[in-house]
């Protein structure tokens, strides 16, 4: 069992390979970016809105605080985490730079960056804004959020590393909000040097 340090609810445990299948066979999960239609909103409750915002802020803070082992716990067991460029999304191209189709793959990404990968030491600072709950269906909400990530290298160099948008599907499980899908659409076409810490 793993515990989400920012949640009062325990997760369902880590994913075993036999269960680790994506819900979308094609793997083509990144959708086109459609502007939200005015008036299409159903109004979430204040409590739900607070849970959504807390999930988004806590996820960013866990990354910035280098508590990356807790990052997978913000996802449901079948949770998807993808990072793709706006350039590809706008052209309907399915490739994503990071394409985790379940929580097991997210755990593997974190294990790889801790134990396998080589890169210049750095950390992030997230600035989050414009959290918008676009729609709610039962306990599931579609949410869009703007982010800015500043990368701080070990030598002190700070640069804007990434700006973009989170396109999330957030579900309430036993009162706790988790990501069933988090699609990070980054605005720039290019990645500076490499992308290892999740955005």
């Amino acid at each position: 069992m793993t515990t989400n340090p920012d949640s009062d609810v325990k997760t369902q445990g880590t994913v075993s390979p036999s269960k680790a299948t994506g819900r979308h066979g094609s793997g083509a999960l990144i959708g086109s970016i459609a502007p939200s239609a005015p008036g299409a909103h159903s109004e979430p409750s204040e409590a739900d809105r607070r849970r959504v915002e807390a999930l988004i802020h806590r996820t960013a803070r866990a990354i910035d605080d280098d508590r990356l082992e807790s990052f997978p716990d913000f996802f449901t067991e079948d949770g998807i985490y993808q990072v793709a460029s706006r350039f590809n999304v706008e052209r309907g191209l399915p490739m994503a730079q990071i394409n985790c189709r379940n929580r097991g793959m997210i755990i593997d990404r974190i294990a790889s960056l801790r134990h396998a990968n080589i890169y210049g030491k750095h950390r992030y600072r997230h600035l989050i804004s414009s959290i918008e709950i676009e729609s709610q269906t039962g306990t599931s909400m579609r949410v869009r959020t703007s982010y800015l990530v500043i990368r701080i290298m070990d030598d002190g160099t700070s640069t804007i590393f990434s700006s973009g948008e989170y396109q999330d599907m957030i579900v309430l499980e036993s009162g706790a909000a988790r990501f069933r899908e988090r699609r990070v659409i980054f605005d720039s076409k290019s990645i500076d040097t490499l992308l290892v810490i999740p955005l």
Partner: protein, 417 residues
Amino acid sequence: MSEPATQASLHWPDEGYRRVPYRVYTDAGVYAQEQARLFRGPMWHYLALTAELPQAGDFKTTFVGDTPIIVTHGLDGQFNAFVNRCAHRGSLVCLEANGNKPDGFTCVYHAWSYDLAGNMTSAAFRRGVRGQGGLPADFDLREHGLQRLRIGQCGGILFGTLSDEAESLEDYLGPVATRGILRAMNRPIKILGYDSQIIPANWKTYHENTRDTFHANILHTFFGTFGASRQSQESATIIDPQGRHLYVYTKRGTEVQSADYDNAAASLRSVNSDFTLNDHSVIDWTDEYGDGCSVFITTMFPNFVIHQVQHSLGVRQLIPKGPDRCELIYTYFGYADDSEAMQATRLAHINATGSAGLVSMEDGAVCEFVRQGIAGSGEAASFIEMGGKDLASGGDTKLSEKPLRHFWNVYRGYMDL
């Protein structure tokens, strides 16, 4: 050479191609000379995949070295490439990455217009107004087209050259690069997406990395740990007779036990048996080509790669951006007849390659470490003698720097350094 020599001053160590003076990675004069002799010189450069330009009127913009290029699919069905630089005052004539313009291109600055083959079609106010202004009476549109590249294709890959002196594409590719390209480009493909990685290092640092078959199992832990690629597996490096191009392959599932390997591996960071995966879809692999190769990478002089890393397929174009920076563009593809499941597998395997690749991200990092390390190195040089001291030695093992010695030999020849 059609270009006047911009001779860089550089003392190359007497040992020749088994030493590389670090100034070749940092010197602005060397960079300028590379632009003239390599990128505008008599060799062929990657431009595009024909699958990116399926319809008449389709175009994309790219670069050959520093030079901006437009590639088009003409209304006559022919592909064309020309320099993206207005014949009038030098502005870009196409500002977009790709699209469809059956009518061709019009410069935004003074509206000189060109068709999809780069021929000039009109100039604004050519006759002036009320007898004033306008172009001279002897102005001939035919003399003011965009500078064309010679182009050719192999397996749906378009190559171009700015040099009239380049040999034919077929001769330039030779048997080794041709085989590597056609193995992957054996049937119609489908573009899956692009990845662009800005590498803060000289372009040759990355190009060398793709020829450096020795580093893979030392630097990259991910596959080594899971047996997807190890030095103890059957592998080989095949270099073309002129030393310009090569392919390297590894066959997974062909472990050969040896005490040498076991002893050496025990001391490597990259063999870490404690590391396990929750989800194996990143490394699950079947032999889709029937030749047992789980990794097959073809590298062309000076800056092109086509790779199969498990089921991730892609071409890599390396664009220099000054002495200390380059852009690496991956264009990923699958086959037009891929099943939905195979496409999902390819997309999963792209997790291993590219700027966020569980394997290849480290190449971006190590290139930067080299740039940082060679700062202030004066006349110092690298040492390239793994597998021997000459071009012939080193066999076809991956534990050899023979492909690097060939690279520097070819490079010095073209560069006259």
